[in-house]
Amino acid sequence: MANMTNLYDSSICTACRACQVACKNWNQLPASIKPFKGNYQTHEDTDGDTYTIVLMNEVDNAAHGVDWNFAKFQCMHCFDAACMKVCPKGAYTKTEWGATIHDPDKCIGCQYCTYACPFGVPKHRKREDKIAKCTLCADRVTEGLAPACATTCAPGALRFGDRDELIEYARERVKSLQANGYPNATIYGINELGGLNKLYILTDTPDKFGLPVNPQTYGTINFWQNWVQPYFGWLIPVALGASAVSFVTTRLMADKHQDHPVEGGHE
């Protein structure tokens, strides 16, 4: 099944943040007004009412003087999704086309996913005590529409389509960028975390955009999910089982030594 995703091109994005508003418009999200802190990027992170933001980073660049790097940031819809791994209620599912969908009806607001996510994307929405995050506009895509963010993007920095085809296009584009003053241009999302269902064309290395260079699922999460949850838990039934066996065997043995009064201890 083909994976459908957004390709974001940082060389085209003007950071108008229409995607951010269109997302709120489509997903019926209230504003979360926070004070200005000295950067155009007013939201430092996604929150329960903000599924997507645009990262803005000013970087000195010897060749250009200054670069103002933009990167749309939202759920990366990782193929190997940590949120899905840790969710105790199985609220996360993966669609056939690669979106990681969170079901608020199953969510109990425990926020494990928030901290498990290498990008810290899923966020707690206080008024409902549920997690909320980007759905890749699954409701739109299922009906044949592109996601709200990609639909509204004026300069065309967001393209929605078949992941493999987008990767092919991105490779060409990055080559051209590398030849035209952006030697560090790169694609982000092909292999990171075993593949993201979000792709980025970056004009520089990911760290210059505020993206983790080599995102990893946290070791503690892996330990927990791969060892603790599946194996350690068996200790409990083992303990219960042993008690049950003991319950029987001690009484059987006691029957053999009828000469000893039980009440004073078994000896």
Partner: protein, 209 residues
């Protein structure tokens, strides 16, 4: 992937809006139950034009109507995919057009009318610290009275020009009008016609500044 353009939603009249449609190549009915139903399905959009910069981007308004066809509430306002200027795109301002009328409350998430919108004509008396709600009839009559008083008291019908002859000038310099660049053409036209006929010469719009 095939990106096709097909008639997505059946629309009335000459206001057909087609959408950039993605052909996923498989039946999407089987997807997770967590996915919400498309809330603009079977809703006829109304085309309009963005009120912000002068690029003239088309927008479409999706509204919920009751059985009698009366407007109930907004569903969404998005870029008009048919408009050749923006082809369905909208910038952050255009994308926020829903908020012009309605908002989602942060505390409850409920959809309510934007509380900043003024819903009644208001009057502020000289020296007062507050507004008073008024009816349209009252306020329009009062304004018409003020215009007449000021105009009649300050009207210059005839004036001598440099060569000493007297000509009709029909103006008042006591009334001024500014703004109007956010109005529709028809509204601007009525405004310019009304103001000029009142003799207003202090007539300005945002084009100047």
């Amino acid at each position: 992937m095939k990106v096709t353009r097909r008639q997505f939603l059946k629309l009335a009249g000459g206001t057909a809006a087609s959408f950039a449609v993605v052909d996923l190549g498989f039946d999407m009915q089987a997807t997770a139950a967590a996915i919400k139903e498309l809330r603009i399905k079977n809703v006829t959009p109304t085309p309009t034009v963005c009120p912000y910069c002068a690029s003239g981007c088309g927008l479409v308004v999706y509204s919920e109507k009751n059985a009698e066809g009366k407007f109930v509430r907004l569903l969404s306002v998005v870029g008009d995919p048919d408009n050749p200027i923006n082809e369905g795109c909208a910038c952050s301002k255009g994308s926020a057009m829903f908020n012009l009328r309605e908002i989602y409350e942060p505390e409850t998430g409920h959809q309510v009318v934007n509380p900043k919108r003024v819903q009644k004509p208001l009057y502020r008396a000289p020296g007062s610290e507050k507004w008073e709600e008024k009816e349209w009839d009252w306020i329009l009559d009062e304004i018409a009275q003020r215009i007449k008083q000021t105009r009649d008291a300050s009207f210059i019908h005839k004036e001598k020009i440099a060569d000493g002859t007297e000509i009709i000038v029909n103006r008042t310099e006591k009334i001024a009008s500014i703004g109007g660049s956010g109005l529709d053409n028809e509204e601007c036209y009525l405004l310019t016609k009304m103001m000029r006929s009142l003799g207003v010469v202090f007539l300005e719009t945002q084009a100047r500044i």
